[in-house]
Amino acid sequence: MLSIKDLHVNVGDKQILKGISLEIKAGEVHAIMGPNGSGKSTLSQVLAGRDGYEVISGSITYKGQDILALSPEERAREGVFLALQYPVEIPGVNNVYLLKAGLNAIRKHRSLPELDAFEFLTLIKEKMKLMHMDESFLNRGVNEGFSGGEKKRNEILQMAVLEPSLALLDETDSGLDIDALKIVAHGVNSLRSPERAILMVTHYQRLLDYITPDYVHVLAGGKIIKSGDKTLALELEKRGYDWLTQVPAINTDNTGAIGA
């Protein structure tokens, strides 16, 4: 589904991603963890096509297609979805209106008939039930005055409506209360299928208690420095990142063949 090869990305003069390689197959769930500022959001935004990042070298192939030349909207129409770490408020633009416009643009691209207001409302009400969201959110401005947790829930609502093939979830769990975390996890799990893939960035094991990842990667200093299965997350929870990022000279742990 997604193949990232030796990706180097700069912002201005600053090198942020320094050679990322990652293979994600349909049906898989990958978790990315790593210290603050290590480049996790940068990676997800580059995948979604945001301007302002300079890809110095490397490639991103999605469904067999090089997507670096595609605009964000083209990627979205091809099935890429990004739930942002910091969802944006757009005052005066109706939440439903934005979502309907997005869904219809995507459907049009796929030669599907556009949904009319009634059909769309039926669909979104069903998805809102899934997300335990009150219908009053239908008529509010996009994220306007939403609480932190409500914004995150709104992101997953959008995902549930747009039904992407590749969902990138950037810290969707942060800011959620315990109940909301379960709801969001349920929303994500109901999207899981053999045709879809999920890449989620998180700092905490508790999300992974609900959404079991197939792979866990540690991103530090712009590189993936370790990959493993779900047990890696448990280990990180216990030990933090130091043991991975520090020079191994004084490290008595057996972390693999490092050195000469």
Binding site: V11, Q45, A48, G49, R50, D51, G52, Y53, S71, P72, E73, R75, A76, R77, F81, L82, L84, Y86, P87, V88, I90, P91, G92, V93, N94, Y97, L98, L99, A101, G102, L103, A105, I106, H109, G141, V142, Q158, L162
Partner: protein, 482 residues
């Protein structure tokens, strides 16, 4: 990450859609202005003596007035002798008595503008008066309105058929010497619309006027007078377009509204005069005086304007809140793109007790556009308990445009409350990216965000015009962000 200025430069590539010229024979007065021209206009229009005298008084006053000080506008001097003050499509008869008599080419023009005088208007239930250059060509729905006792006709017809109303109300809100352009208009105005809603009548449909400047080198000086008698209610919409021409054309209109006791007037404008090209060549100079007088207690006047056209816009639709408990409102969206300049705002003059005014202004600047809000809230000594709320928001697109806000407040009564909020923002890359990452194209995202910014104003427009206004805004901004 950030949208670069170069990207934003491309924000201005849209062509003006209404820029066609209608090939029609017209009777046009030679350029120039003196008392003879005024007498001539008055004679063509078979006006009563009082009106000619009023025109001459205005003209003599105008001659003594200094040209206005342009505040924030950059404008080349206007040669008033180079303008023709009267241009009328040649008609087979004196004036068309019905639509069948109107030149088919003219009707075609209105079709192109999206204003079919018969069909669509009927469907929409909107009565339309269309002013082409200087002359009103047709007023639809006369009969149905007449049944309700509503008078809706061209200004010229009103002068002939209801001279007493004209004499009583003309200049009673905007006096003949009010300002430079109002004085000029009073001297040379040729046509416009007239509305009278009798006591207790709720006008059965939206009334609407479309103005179009067609002939070259003419000015359009229309005059609109709307009177809502006690307890009457009316909603009125004005739309405007002009062909693309390299020379600037002058549009100096005057609109007077009178609301008597318990009356309610809602006046909406969608102004889309030719704005000039992307280098600032040509376009309409839109210098308009619009003022409403809430003359009776509990009356209400509400101005809503969407200004996307004109090279230069200079207008301050205002309310004089004379009657106790009267209400004035001003909702405005002004968009300047390319080299357009807008200096617009309102004046709310609180005279009566417990008078209330609301001002919501949304300015959008793109390209090299300059957008200026200028507002005055004046609370006189007798205006016990007066209240004003003002909100001015500016949205900038790119870094070559400008937004300026000049709120003036004068309060002479200590029980008054005046509240002002202002903000300036840019369309953020975060917002654009957010919409795009949901599959929405960049252009749709821009117009969605801008429309969201204007929502508080658009919701004041009559339904069918709100849609038109949104489309107009989208068109004016197409290609706005690269």
């Amino acid at each position: 990450m950030s949208t670069t200025p170069q990207d934003l430069e491309q924000l201005v590539a849209q062509k003006y859609r209404h820029g066609f010229v209608t090939d029609i024979e017209s009777d046009t007065l030679a350029p120039g202005l003196d008392e003879n021209v005024i007498r001539h206009i008055s004679r063509i229009k078979k006006e009563p003596e009082f009106l000619l005298q009023w025109r001459l008084k205005a003209f003599r006053h105008w001659l003594t007035m200094p040209t206005p000080n342009w505040a924030h506008l950059k404008i080349a001097p206007i040669d008033y002798q180079a303008i023709s003050y009267y241009s009328a499509p040649k008609a087979r008869t004196d004036a068309p008595k019905s639509l069948d008599e109107v030149d088919p080419k003219l009707l075609e023009t209105y079709d192109k503008l999206g204003i079919p005088l018969h069909e669509r208007a009927r469907l929409a239930g909107v009565a339309v008066d269309a002013v082409f250059d200087s002359v009103s060509v047709a007023t639809t729905f006369k009969d149905r309105l007449a049944k309700a006792g509503v008078i809706f006709c061209s200004f010229s017809d009103a002068v002939q058929q209801h001279p007493q109303l004209i004499e009583q109300y003309l200049g009673s809100v905007v006096p003949h010497g009010d300002n430079y352009f109002a004085a000029l208009n009073s001297a040379v105005f040729t046509d416009g619309s007239f509305v009278y809603i009798p006591k207790g009548v709720r006008c059965p449909m939206e009334l609407s006027t479309y103005f179009r400047i067609n002939a070259a080198n003419t000015g359009q000086f229309e005059r609109t007078l709307i009177i809502a008698d006690e307890g009457a209610t009316v909603s009125y919409l004005e739309g405007c377009t002009a062909p693309m021409r390299d020379e600037n054309q002058l549009h100096a209109a005057v609109v007077e509204l009178v609301a008597l006791k318990d009356a309610n007037i809602k006046y909406s404008t969608v102004q889309n005069w030719y704005p000039g090209d992307e280098n600032g060549l040509g376009g309409i100079y839109n210098f308009v005086t619009k003022r409403g007088d809430c003359r009776g207690a509990n009356s209400k006047i509400s101005w809503t304007q969407v200004e996307t056209g004109s090279a230069i816009t200079w207008k301050y639709p205002s309310c004089i809140l004379t009657g106790d408990h009267s209400v004035g409102e001003f909702y405005s969206v002004a968009l300047t793109n390319h080299y357009q300049q807008a200096d617009t705002g309102t004046k709310m003059i609180h005279i009566g007790r417990n008078t209330k005014s609301t001002i919501v202004s949304k300015g959008i600047s793109a390209g090299h556009g300059q957008n200026c809000y200028r507002g005055l809230v004046k609370i006189l000594a007798g205006a016990e308990g007066a209240r004003n709320y003002t909100q001015c928001d500016s949205l900038l697109m790119g870094d070559r445009c400008g937004a300026h806000t000049f709120p003036y407040v004068e309060v002479k009564n200590s029980t008054a409350s005046v509240e002002h909020e202002a903000s300036t923002s840019k369309i953020s890359d975060d917002q654009l990216f957010y919409c795009r990452s949901r599959g929405i194209s960049q252009e749709d995202a821009v117009s969605m965000i801008v429309n969201g910014f204007c929502k508080a104003v658009f919701k004041e427009l009559p339904m069918e015009f709100a849609v038109e206004a949104q489309n107009l805004l989208s068109v004016s901004l197409e290609g706005a962000v690269g």
